[in-house]
Each structure stands twice: as C-alpha cells, then as structure tokens.
Amino acid sequence: MTTIFRGLGALTASNSFDSKKLQLPSPRSFSERKASFLLVRSDGSVNLNLGSNSRARRAEQLITNAVATKADGSAASTASKPGHELLLFEALREGLEEEMDRDPTVCVMGEDVGHYGGSYKVTKGLATKYGDLRVLDTPIAENSFTGMGIGAAMTGLRPVVEGMNMGFLLLAFNQISNNCGMLHYTSGGQFKIPIVIRGPGGVGRQLGAEHSQRLESYFQSIPGIQMVACSTAYNAKGLMKAAIRSENPVILFEHVLLYNLKERIPDEEYICNLEEAEMVRPGEHVTILTYSRMRYHVMQAAKTLVNKGYDPEVIDIRSLKPFDLYTIGNSVKKTHRVLIVEECMRTGGIGASLTAAITENFHDYLDAPIVCLSSQDVPTPYAGTLEEWTVVQPAQIVTAVEQLCQ
C-alpha cells in the first residue's frame, strides 16, 4: 500500500533533482496501482488522466473560494457524482471512522476523546460505536499517552493520538523525537511505529499565546517522522486516511479556525497522497507556496491580484516533511518567482526550510530572491487587534506580489 504513495521517492532515485532536466516523468502513477481510486478534485471534477504529467492536470482551472463556505464550480459538479456536504471536522471524523471500520487495529487515544467527543468534536460518537477501549480517554500526561501510543504501535496497533491542542504536544517532544522518530531505525527495522499524532494548532481567535503554537517548525527536524497539514474538508479526510495507513509515524496538523469549513466531498472512498502538494490555482507570474489557514488568505489576495492583472500560481504544499519539491520545482521553473506565505514564526519556520530547499535546488530558475511572509518572532498576543497583525494578512500578500513582480 505504501508503495503507491512513495512513487515520488522511488522514481527520483534515478533522476535526482537535476534541475537541468525539464522533462521529468510523473512519479505519481495511481492508475497502475489502484484503479479503484478516483482522483476527485474539490470542485467536483474528476481527473481521469491519473498517470499523465502535471501539465495535463494543470489544464483544469481550479478556482476555490478564499473561504470555502459553499461548494464552487456548480457547472463542473453536475458532470460528476453529487457527493455530500460536511464540515472539515466531520470530514476528519468520517476518515477516522472509515479507517476504524476497515482495520480493527486502529484506535484513538487522547484527553476527552471518548464520550466527550474531543474538544473539537472530531471523535464524536466514536466511543459509543467502538467502545471505551478503542477510543481511549487518557489522564493528562501528553508525554505518557504519546509514549503509550508508541508502545501500542510497536505491538501491532495503529493508534491515532490526539493532542487537545498542538501546543500541548510540546510535552510529548521527548517521546516524539527520541522514540517515535527513532525506534524503527535503532531497532534495525524490527519494530515499526505506524502512529498518527494529530491535533489543532495555529493562531486562533484570542486563545492566548500558549494555545496558539505552530508546532510544525519545532518538529520539522525530527528524522523518521512525516508531517502533513490539511486545509480543506477534502484533503482533511484524505490525509487522515493516508496517515493512518502509512507505516511511518505521521503528524497531522489541523487548524483551529478551519474546523467549520463546509465543503462537498465525494461519496466514494479516496485518499490523498501524503507527500504531494496541492495545486490550488495555476498561474504564470509568481508561485505562492502556502499551507493550512494561510491558503485562504492567499486565495483572498489572489482575487485582488487577478483584478490588478496578475496571474499567481497558488500551491498548498500540504506535505511539510518531506516537501513536494517536484510540484514546487515545476512551478518555479515556470514562474521564476516565489513567495512563501506561512503562519509560522520567521525564525526556523517551515518557510525558512522551504526557502533553503528551493534555493539549493532551483537557484538557476529564480529571477528574484525568495520572499517569505511569516508571523513575527513574538508570542501571540491576546488582544484581537494585536493578534490579527501577528498573522499575515491578504493586503500584505498583495503588496509582496506586486513588489516581487516589478
């Protein structure tokens, strides 16, 4: 199963990121492996050319709303199956429930995940359906229930550990770094840790500094783990399912403010590739790389930019570790300008690593230095106005693109 989603790595072994070669074959060959999966995009259109290269995929103009409150592209959706509408947290639950139905070793553990249903209701109803043992309420000790999840994973279960807020997982750093990421390696491959660690993070609405952490920047160095960030109901469900099925430990970053996004998602089963970025809006002038909530700020800015005559290409990188340098690289080679918009802090954030990766691999294709818009290096203040200005706003994105494209 994992070989499907590792196509990227397997094929680039022979190619490497030799930026001289433009014609790289598509590493994602879904059609050869699992014909039963349809790649259904979030606007309802169906992608039939699964094995083709990215140019064919970009031929579909995907325009999503800045804040997806209703299903877009009604013309396109009549051409495909209707699907069903739900909120992002419900999509997460649906994905989790489907995997728990499919595989009896999948279990959930965390604080208040059982009968309370989780602080953001992602696990609502699961304890009633699967019992107290499979949806486990733990005492308050993040390091320890993460450790417990690791021990259970080494013994054959597939736990989904929920941090009530991502920030609390800082307490679990020892287990995540020293054990979760390492034990498959140090045991000589004897023990595997197919654990999923997930939870809400990011800057919310006046949650205070401690509850507004962006943990992806702290965790990105840990060898042995994978990190993904969901941003739509569609990719939330797809990434949840993929993360559970992965043999590696995966950290799934959700955002506190995105849980109530409504979207129409397909009825049939689907999975999103853990290592793949999502092309949100193809364009020609500038590549804007973003993830999680900032995707919506970027799309809002994109509307303004389009009105001003710019044609930005927006990519939701989704995979924070490892980066999908294939999609990103092809975009850079086309537009030659990169803007990174993230919610992480400036120092040591995802944007910093991404800047380094792009510069190393695609330096020759850049016409301008990479611009990275991030939050400032400050704890998130409580006051609403102050908090709003620690996060990158659409106006700043527009200005940055204008400056970049001069």
Binding site: L133, G147, G189, Q190
Partner: protein, 477 residues
C-alpha cells in the same frame, strides 16, 4: 467471563502441574507450599461490548471506582449516613479531628525474601517452587550474565568496544524475573536487563555482534553497545532515555488487552527512573486502564552518583504504588527464588485480574553506572566490595541449588570455563565480522527512503569516493 476464568485456572494448573511432577532424581525442598495469591480473582470487566457502554455510559466509565466504593460502602453500612460524604470519586467518611497523614509509615514496608544470605530456605516461607531444570538454568544464566559482563567490561577497557553497561549485582533480578515470564510476555527494558534476553535465547554471539556494531547486529549498527532489541524474543529495543519506556509498556499492555491475549507487558526501570514524570503517568494510566503490566523497579541505591536519599524521600518506590491504586510488593532483589515467586505471582494477577503490579526489587549496583563512570569517586570501595563479595546473588543461589543436590563444584568449574571460552570466542568472531554498509545510515528512517535521503546518500558516497583517505576504510560501501 466464566470461560476466561476457567482458562486462567487451567493455565495456572498446568504450570503448577509441571512443578509438582518430580523429575527423576530431582526433589523439592521441604516447605514447598504455595501462598494465597493463586486464588482466582474477581471477573474481568468486559470493555468490548459497546452496547453495554452506550446504555450506561456513566456507570461503565466509573465501574472500577464504583466497585471500590462498593467495598468502601460496606464498611459504612453500619455507620450513620450523616458521617459519610458523597464527593466525585466515591463516599468518604468524615472526621472532625484535624489529622494529617504522616509523611511516612512508622515502619518501612518489609521486604519479601525466601533464601537467607547463605542460601538457606527461611522457615515458613511461601514461594513458587521450581523444578531442578529451571533452577539450573536460572543459575547457569546468572553465571553467564556475570561472566559476560566481566569480559565485555574488560573488552571496553582494552578499547575493543567503545562502551558497555554491566548488571553486576543484579543478576537475580534479570534472570529470575525472566524465568517467571513466558515468551509471549512483552519485555520493555531500561538498559540493565540483558539477562532477560539471555534467558529467552539471545546468543552470546548476538550480544557480541551488537556491542561491536557489526553486520550481525540486529540493530544494524545504529545503537550504542548494550542497547539490545529483538522482536522475535519480544524484547523492545533499548532507548537511552530514562523511563520513556514505561508508557510504552502500558501501551503494549493495552494492545494485549485489546487482543485478549494471555500475556502481559513487563517493564524495568531503576530508582532514578522512578523520579521521571513518565513513571507517574505510566502507573496512573495502567491503573485507570486496568492494563496487564508489571512494573519492576531495580532499586539499586544509585542513579549514577545520586544516592537514594537525594532521589526521593518516600519509603522507596513500593509505597508509591498504592498512591496510584497499584498493587505492589517489595522483594529482596538478590534472592533469585523470591524474585521468581514474586514475578510469577504478579504475572498471574496482572493477566487474570487485568491490573498493573509494581515490584520493587531491592538490590545494589555493584558495577559502575557504565564504562564512562568511575563510582569510586562518589562511594567507598569498601561498600562496593562488601556487596560484591558478601551479598552476591549468584553465590547465594548457588548454595541453595547445591544443597538440593542439583549442582556440584565440578559442574561449576565446567560451566564457568565453558562460558568464558564461548564469550572470548564470540568477541574474537565479532571483531572480525564486517561492519555495516553505508546504506544502513539511510535505511529504516522511513519504511521507504524519501528523495532527500537518496540525495544525501548520493552526496556522501561521492564524498567518500573523492576523499577516501578521510573516511574509515573498515566501512564497506
């Protein structure tokens, strides 16, 4: 429910059956009677029935506390209801007298031991009997462990391996506890329990290979010496972090419970490890989750240079069990027979009653913390020597099996010279085996290597090719 109890009873009987059969010429010592702990316990709660849970959510979740308060309630049945208060967590009697619980009991919790310092069985002791074969295997594995530690320690001093951790003085804890378990029980060690692996069949060559980090190493050259791990022996790979394995054991027990297996998780840690946050949460979790896990604390008096008095002020580790609702016992860790009996009983209780058990084994760390430590810097040589010679768990057990006629001095010298020869040979072989290839640096980080690791490996190989003189020649590419 009843079916399960019957199975447990049969299991217990079959184990006891083995012990009650006298095996040509072998005999048991006089007072071989089994104590009260083998009584069948209350039925296991059924967590796999969600309908039951749905209809009585609150009652299901608090079933265990209800059961407890039930027992408590019966105490209060004769008391006026005005004297009992109803708070979350159950009924409590109240008292108008302001009385603080003392920080310590009047007397320390007594220590369970069965053999005295001379290996003589103590009067009126109750313990789990062992057959002569098991006793001989326990003894010879203790000798093997002791010899292995001595020789590998010397090898480190000679510069043949870089690092080693001895378990000198704790042989009884290692081997006797392992003997009381079955191969299905999952062992989650700290780092001073190679004896458990030895009991389960890890060969001397495999030990040596891991210490030399050669191609035969099951860890593929990735872990420090003495950080063994073997899935086929149900022994989790050692991680250097202290006490981080305790929650792992609870998770493993949770997994066994979900699968309904007739096995438990067993985890070891030291007196120092009991100060870590993970210890407290793990005990608490295990109690709340009613997980079948045995926590074995090797209280050996020292955490590197920190003596017990600087580690905690409670009466050792055993008293902490009750604070979390965990049944506990204090055992003489240098008494192999007592260790065996206690762990055997703990295992029965853990599995049949679905509960955690805490076993505090009192012992002494005769060796240094590791080869990077010189303990004479913080403790007296006299103290070390006294424990090494007069309180050696190996000689103590030897006296007992000799008194039973199961051992002789010829067998002794034969065993010791044979083990020594095997170990020296294992070291020589291990030294000559090729080291792991460069590819092992990059494999198993993930199930399938991602692109960045491919690049990094390529870069490294190119660097080695370009400047071979800068890289060790012993490492194959």
């Amino acid at each position: 429910m009843a079916m399960r109890m019957r199975n447990v009873a049969n299991h217990v009987k079959s184990r006891m059956g083995l012990l009650s059969v006298t095996n040509h010429g072998a005999s048991f010592s006089s007072s071989t009677h089994i104590g009260k702990f083998l009584a069948i316990s209350p039925p296991v709660r059924d967590f796999k029935n969600p309908d039951a849970n749905f209809s009585k959510i609150a009652t299901c979740r608090f079933e265990s506390t209800k059961a407890d308060s039930g027992r408590l309630g019966s105490q209060y049945s004769s008391i006026d209801s005005n004297q009992v208060l109803d708070f979350p967590g159950g009924k409590v009697a109240f008292t108008p007298e302001m009385k603080f619980l003392s920080e310590s009991l009047k007397e320390r919790i007594p220590c369970y031991r069965v053999l005295d310092d001379n290996g003589q069985l103590i009067e009126d002791s109750n313990f789990v009997g062992v057959s002569s074969e098991i006793a001989r295997k326990i003894y010879s594995d203790m000798v093997t462990l002791q010899t292995m530690d001595t020789i590998f320690y010397e090898a480190q001093r000679q510069g043949r391996i870089s690092f080693y951790v001895t378990a000198i003085g704790e042989e009884a804890i290692n081997i006797a506890s392992a003997a009381a378990l079955t191969i299905d029980d999952l062992v989650v060690p700290q780092y001073r329990e190679p004896g458990v692996l030895l009991w389960r069949g890890f060969t001397l060559q495999e030990f040596a290979d891991q210490c030399f980090s050669n191609r035969g190493d099951s860890c593929k050259g990735r872990q420090m010496p003495a950080h063994y791990g073997s899935k086929k022996h149900n022994y989790f790979t050692v991680a250097s972090t202290i006490a981080s394995q305790l929650p792992h054991a609870v998770g493993a027990a949770y997994s066994l419970k979900m699968d309904g297996k007739d096995a438990c998780a067993v985890t070891y840690f030291g007196d120092g490890g009991s100060s870590e946050g993970d210890f407290h949460a793990a005990l608490n979790f295990a109690a709340v989750m009613e997980a079948p896990v045995i926590f074995i604390c090797r209280n050996n008096g020292w955490a590197i240079s920190t003596p017990i008095s600087d580690q905690f002020r409670s009466d050792g580790v055993v008293v902490r069990g009750q604070a979390y609702g965990v049944r506990s016992i204090r055992v003489d860790g240098n008494d192999a027979l007592a260790m065996y009996s206690a762990v055997y009983a703990a295992r029965q209780m853990a599995i049949s009653e679905h509960r955690p058990i805490l076993v505090e084994a009192l012992t002494y760390r005769v060796g240094h913390h590791t080869t990077s430590d010189d303990s004479t810097k913080y403790r007296s040589v006299d103290e070390i020597e006294r424990w090494r010679l007069a309180r050696d768990p190996v000689t103590r057990f030897q006296k007992w099996i000799e008194n039973n006629g199961w051992w002789s001095s010829e067998a002794e010298s034969e065993l010791r010279s044979s083990v020594r020869k095997q170990l020296l040979n294992a070291i020589q072989v291990a030294e000559r085996v090729e080291k792991p290839p460069v590819a092992n640096i990059f494999s198993d980080v993930y199930d399938i290597p991602p692109s960045n690791l491919f690049e990094q490996e390529k870069w490294l190989r190119e660097a080695i090719k370009r400047h071979p003189q800068d890289y060790p020649s012993v490492f194959p590419l």
